[in-house]
Symmetry: C2
Subunit: 340 residues, 2 copies
């Protein structure tokens, strides 16, 4: 750790990806290099980025441009787009990590493209077929990481087992929790309740050596009863998006219901808080992609400069936590435990 | 409708089922016969019910006891319990409907037992393998019925199609909506997003003749963009229970956050409203079981007298709406449309 801390973490930022690229991406990067001990490579169209960067006084700051050609649009098939354009910004940014020129890459562009680039360029450790995404999504339970949040649907029980391992390492490395409680999301707390996927996964988690505490019901999620909640990506995505929608709708409801009872400023504070508690993914900026051989941060597509800066901070923290090597060790351990 | 309205609707109440049986069940039934134009048969242990009923002045009211022996406990295997005890209260109550001695049965006991009794005693229309449950679960979208809410997990696409038909008839009969919008819950709004189950169901819904408007994302659920949302029971149960849990947790959050800003009474009103908006299933008392040849109401296990009374009102309304015959016709129509 000592030598790693002595040099700045190098971040490759896909400056062309996301709803607010490139202006807010460059702005966030400039703020990040001024505030944190990071070195940022802005990956994208050289002329465009040079023009954006000229708006700021970055003299002497560790920020520079790495040229790429084009980018993957939201909604494009990632596999096809990457094959057709191997110089797209997200591939070049991921490649900088692969070849040791950056410690982490960050993209606010298409999640599918970031995942495909990471899987293809960085590769995956043994036992992982496809990267996963996860993390805390309920502001009321900020120490409950839900995995997977939508990268994997129709997951096999063996994949759900790896989500448990990922969450375990995440809670240890990011939150310093010694023996994270791992729960399986189901529709009844008794073992044997749930669908076939859940029932088969229960058996694997039970012999995994993880601190598996059994099923958790959806109504218990906001109360922080487990550090890790394992579920299929379809279900995790439902949990994340329903929470976001309810937060938005309830914030509106409160703005109406309390209009005559609270001073405008306090009302706004309360309603915004309800919104934020249910939309925390926006406030992180981004989270690491799990199960790839390197650090790749999937950012929030709508992020503005602050979100971009936070995503860069998350990248730095992920590198420093040595999450990737920790996960690879844990996956190897679980493979041996379950097999034996 | 005329002749039906001229006589009182007869309700068979499983007076032994639910967390607060029999006292609150009898109390709710007494209130119901006093307030609505219904006749209630209390099904259960004769001595126990006679003693409970003696607490009230029911002279001249249309309420009486139908004896049964024992009941199915929450958590018992419904199939085994019903086989071992064919005189259990829920079976006798359902049997009264089967043999025309009641128009509807109501149980606040084990949902599995109520479903099993209805499927076994009343039978199912052609095209239905297993009853479903559904209805509005988001107070912010009170005209959005989600089906299934947990009775069916690992549903086949053909079952999901029947959920669409059920919801269509529900929205017509209960809400008087002429051409209900039917949506499929998925994790992306584009067709082709989602898991295999969703993709295959899309094809069936498209040729169903229902007013299928495509995929709906979970964050859109609170905004009432469809009258009917079709999903697997595992997912629907996650939606229902997560909403309940978030309502509970956010009500607590508001009680803390606004303690110093609002008068106690108003604070309680606001916090309770947030709770209720997210826990509306409690306030209905119960909903009809879909896809059985008769009216069977699955009540909320924790219901007290008001919930029981509301469940009885729901039973009366379900009978009057001729939901069951409407659904059978719609299922026959869809079978022909999809097959052709």
């Amino acid at each position: 750790m000592t030598s790693r801390k002595q040099r700045r973490t190098k971040i490759a930022l896909d400056a062309m990806g996301g709803d607010n690229a490139p202006a807010e991406l460059v702005a966030g990067a400039v703020e990040a290099v001024a505030e944190f001990d990071v070195d940022v490579r802005l990956v994208g169209d050289e002329d465009v980025l040079r023009e954006e960067l000229a708006r700021y006084d970055v003299d002497g700051l560790p920020i520079r441009i790495v040229p790429s050609e084009g980018y993957v649009r939201e909604g494009e098939s990632p596999a096809i787009a990457l094959r057709q354009n191997p110089k797209a910004s997200v591939i070049v940014a991921t490649g900088l990590v692969k070849f040791g020129l950056a410690d982490a890459c960050v993209s606010m562009g298409s999640t599918g493209a970031t995942m495909a680039a990471a899987a293809f360029v960085l590769g995956m450790p043994e036992g992982i077929d496809r990267p996963a995404i996860g993390g805390p999504v309920l502001g009321l339970a900020p120490r409950t990481a839900i995995i997977d949040l939508g990268a994997n649907v129709d997951s096999r029980p063996a994949q759900l087992l790896t989500f448990g391992a990922i969450g375990d390492v995440f809670a240890r490395k990011f939150w310093g929790i010694e023996n994270p409680r791992v729960a399986l999301l189901s529709v009844g707390s008794e073992a044997g309740k749930g669908n076939n996927q859940v029932k088969e996964t229960t058996e694997l988690l039970e012999k995994s050596g993880l601190n598996f505490i059994g099923n958790i019901e959806p109504n218990e999620l906001p109360f922080g009863r487990a550090e890790v909640v394992v579920c299929d990506g379809f279900v995790g995505n439902v949990v994340m998006k329903l929470t976001e929608g309810l937060g938005q709708a309830l914030a509106s409801h409160l703005r109406d219901a309390l209009r005559d009872s609270l001073p405008a400023e306090e009302l706004e504070r309360v309603a915004s808080k309800v919104y934020e508690l249910n939309n925390i993914v926006e406030s992180w900026g981004g989270g690491p992609l799990f199960g790839v051989n390197g650090v790749s941060i999937v950012g929030h597509g709508r992020a503005r400069r602050t979100g971009v800066k936070r995503a860069i901070a998350t990248a730095k923290r992920t590198v420093e936590s040595q999450f990737v090597s920790g996960l690879n060790e844990e996956l190897a351990r679980i493979r041996n435990t379950v097999a034996s």
